[in-house]
């Protein structure tokens, strides 16, 4: 029961609500107009264009390595550019650098916070970045001295007002792009910790981001709990494209290798492909029997295969062009939380809540 203290406040409040309601209905009608216009263009679905493409054969993909060493859920991982080293982070705050080929652990850091949801390998291979519930992203230069405490040289780079959900180095060790539960993404200078650019536009937690491949440079895509995937211009901070066709939180976004499209994986159990020049969704990867959300997606080197890690402990492999599933992989004993293809495409790695990482090829 509200009793307004001053009558004018009451009428102001009513007016404000009316204006907001009016704006809302206007935005809804603009949205549907947009959809109408998009539909008028003779749009084709990807699988129609790909009808004449040769089908894929049988696949034999299996676990080639199992990396054991984390004491708790593995939340994130990233490959080093040398194609064999990886960094992984877990719920208990541990960040481990492995040589996945030999399965040796090379470095380990204990973060002062739990739920380290983001980690990234620097392009030079000489540092790693990670963050999570501490709302920060920290960069740790790696050292050959086994006795050195890596935490001593740590650099605190990013500061958000909520948890860090994802981070990525740009083309050098000097800049980091981060996304956060506070709804923003930001670009930081590593050396000084200075904020170079911030990106506002998501209406809820931003869960993932991916940088566009080199030539097309200067843009990145982010996905959030507002079901939107936004493409941003790194120079101006503006959102240049936005896609909203998912029915639930977008957990993962990844560019198609040419940079002209990107895929997204969501809690609505589907993966979708969005073409940037056509400015719309061109494919959906889903099956009635798949009811658990997708946590992580990545493309094979040619972009023909899309690998998706799911919350029902499996990995589904999709034919990107034809829209069909070509394989389903088992092995993990709990949710697959992260999935990345290696830089030369020879394998992909998955991290899971069952405390292990697996390399598949």
């Amino acid at each position: 029961m509200r009793s307004p203290l001053i009558p004018e406040m009451a009428t102001q409040e009513v007016q404000l609500n009316e204006t907001l309601a009016h704006l809302k209905s206007e935005s809804e009608s603009l949205k549907s107009k947009l959809e109408e216009e998009r539909a008028k263009l003779h749009d084709v679905e990807l699988h129609q264009v790909a009808e004449k493409v040769e089908g894929l054969g049988q696949f034999v993909m299996k676990t080639r390595r199992t990396l054991k060493g984390h004491g708790n859920k593995v939340l994130c991982m990233d490959w080093c550019k040398d194609k064999r080293r990886i960094v992984s982070s877990s719920q208990d705050g541990k960040v481990i650098v492995w040589d996945a080929f030999t399965t040796n652990k090379e470095h380990a850091v204990t973060m002062p916070c739990t739920w380290v949801m983001a980690c990234a390998y620097a392009p030079s291979g000489c540092a790693v970045a990670c963050g999570g519930l501490d709302n920060k992203c920290s960069v740790y230069p790696l050292s050959l001295d086994k006795n050195e405490n890596l935490a001593a040289k740590k650099k605190s780079v990013a500061m958000h007002t909520n948890y860090l959900s994802a981070c990525s180095f740009t083309n050098s060790d000097m800049q980091i792009l981060t996304s956060s539960g506070d709804g923003t993404c930001a670009l930081w200078d590593v050396e000084s910790g200075q904020l170079l650019q911030s990106f506002h536009g998501h209406a809820a937690d931003v869960l993932c981001l991916d940088l566009a491949p080199s030539e097309t440079g200067n843009t990145f895509v982010s996905g959030g709990c507002d079901k939107k995937a936004n493409v941003w211009d790194m120079r101006s901070g503006q959102c240049i494209q936005s896609f909203e066709t998912h029915e639930s939180d977008i957990n993962s976004v990844r560019y198609y290798p040419s940079g002209d499209a990107f895929a997204s994986g969501s809690d609505d159990a589907t993966c979708r492909l969005y073409d940037l020049r056509a400015d719309r969704e061109v494919a959906i990867y889903s099956k009635e029997s798949i009811i658990f959300g997708v946590s992580s997606v990545d493309f094979s080197l040619s972009g023909r295969l899309l690998f998706g890690g799911y919350n029902d402990y499996t990995i589904n492999v999709w034919d990107v062009l034809k829209g069909t599933r070509v394989s389903i992989l088992f092995g993990h004993e709990n949710r697959v939380s992260t999935l990345r293809v290696s830089p030369d495409g020879t394998a992909f790695s998955t991290g899971s809540w069952d405390h292990t990482l697996r390399i598949w090829a």
Partner: protein
């Protein structure tokens, strides 16, 4: 699934003398599921969430396709009932087990019991009373029913209080802030601003979708998941030759690698070995400054903020100023804009000039490079490794002798040393020397 006619075949479980009805083997579950749905994934989820529980290895909630026995959980204990899983109930359950088995609880259960005893001390009389009541009531049941109920209850608690070292399907991760179903007025206001007003609807949607297909087919033979990499995929054969042959600054690249340089200018530039080859070609054409300028711009864009101004000035002096030692040829307008914005340098100040030079190299130099003797020479010398044909014992040997590689830290040190050596051996740039001399105090 439990239908006696069309469901999974059930049999009585023999427990010493008594026979407990309605147990099913893991194999039968998997067979039944695979006839209708995708057996393994559905089966594992059903077990993990506690709808089906194992009788023998009760701590691991997985379905094994063998003769181990399982039973369907009673709906009372289904997670969908959404009873809040109270610590009080767990305490009662542990107390009951304590009475029944006369103090034989598992180690982790004992720890939990002690912990709950401390925290729920005020309720302890109630808990013990409840436990005794339930124990008494259970004793009045027939043995098969009692055993079944004990198994059901035990399975329920394995799901909701997982033993240490196992993982739980009940975990759902961190809370996320926003509820997408909430009626957020804020959201609609920001949506309005996101719809750019002058949207240029791409009428080339067919064209761009076709280009996705083209890209995939071009790279198909280079995708290790679709065509076998030569000599072999290191993850398959435990032989790292593939990586050594394709390392950054290898003298002779492979034929596959050289082929990729012909796919696009971006491919050529992004491969350091390709870029080196291109640089060699440009040197012969005396247009090396274009590539050098482009590389300096990249260095500026992605470099550290502290040295940015200095870098921008250096680039201006070297490439853009009148009489600059490595003057680049860009059109008048771009030059004007660039020089103007250099008064207030920021990391993207050279974007326009960089794009111009990039397009120049892409449309002009790149094409000539592909027809040049430099490239043809590289193509000719490129190696095509034979496919590895390892026997099983050789593969085992490979697995045993996996060697670590040089750390990227070491590689970076070596690279820095190499550059220092090259710089020391390079011819002196006379203009640099003159300008330095002119700045010295007289």
């Amino acid at each position: 699934m439990q239908d006696p006619k069309s469901g999974v075949k059930s049999q009585p479980q023999r427990l010493v003398i008594t026979a407990i009805p309605h147990a099913v083997t893991g194999e039968d579950i998997v067979n039944w599921l695979s006839e209708r749905l995708l057996a393994r994934s559905v089966g594992s989820m059903l077990a993990a969430l506690g709808y089906i529980y194992p009788l023998q290895q009760h701590k691991r909630l997985v379905i094994r396709a063998d003769a181990s026995l399982y039973r369907f959980q009673t709906p009372y204990f289904w997670p969908t009932q959404q009873w809040p899983v109270e610590d009080t109930d767990y305490a009662i359950y542990l107390a009951k087990r304590n009475i029944r088995k006369k103090g034989i609880l598992e180690l982790h259960e004992q720890e939990q019991y002690n912990h709950l005893h401390k925290w729920m001390n005020h309720k302890w009389d109630f808990i013990v009373m409840q436990a005794k009541e339930q124990y008494r009531a259970a004793k009045e049941r027939k043995k098969p029913d009692r055993v079944v109920f004990e198994c059901q209850e035990r399975a329920y608690w394995v799901v909701h209080r997982p033993p240490p070292g196992t993982v739980s399907a009940m975990d759902f991760g961190l809370e996320r802030r926003a509820d997408p179903n909430a009626n957020q007025v804020q959201e609609s206001v920001s949506t309005c601003s996101l719809i750019p007003l002058s949207r240029n609807f791409s009428r080339c949607s067919l064209f761009s979708v076709v280009s996705l297909v083209k890209y995939s087919s071009t790279y198909q033979s280079h995708d290790p998941f679709l065509s076998r990499p030569l000599p072999s995929n290191p993850w398959h054969t435990d032989d790292a030759t593939y990586w050594t042959l394709n390392s950054h600054n290898v003298e002779t690249p492979t034929k596959q690698r050289v082929e990729r340089w012909t796919f696009s200018f971006a491919e050529l530039l992004s491969d350091p070995r390709g870029r080196d080859d291109f640089r060699l070609f440009l040197k012969k054409e005396f247009s090396g400054e274009n590539l050098a300028f482009w590389e300096s711009c990249e260095d500026l864009k992605w470099g550290t903020a502290a040295t940015m101004k200095e870098k921008a000035e250096q680039i201006y002096k070297t490439f853009l100023a009148r009489g600059a030692p490595r003057w680049i040829n860009i059109d008048g307008k771009t030059m004007e804009i660039t020089i103007k914005s250099l008064k207030h340098p920021h990391r993207y100040v050279l974007d326009a000039a960089q794009t111009h030079i990039y397009m120049l190299m892409k449309k002009d130099s790149y094409g000539r490079y592909l027809k040049s003797p430099v490239f043809k020479e590289t193509q000719k010398k490129a190696i095509a490794p034979e496919e590895h044909k390892f026997t099983d014992s050789q593969l085992e040997q490979n697995a045993r002798t996996r060697r670590p590689s040089l750390s990227p830290i070491v590689l970076r040190q070596l690279e820095a040393e190499r550059r220092a050596k090259m710089a020391a051996a390079a011819p002196v740039d006379i203009t640099q020397v003159m300008s330095k001399l002119s700045r010295k105090p007289q």
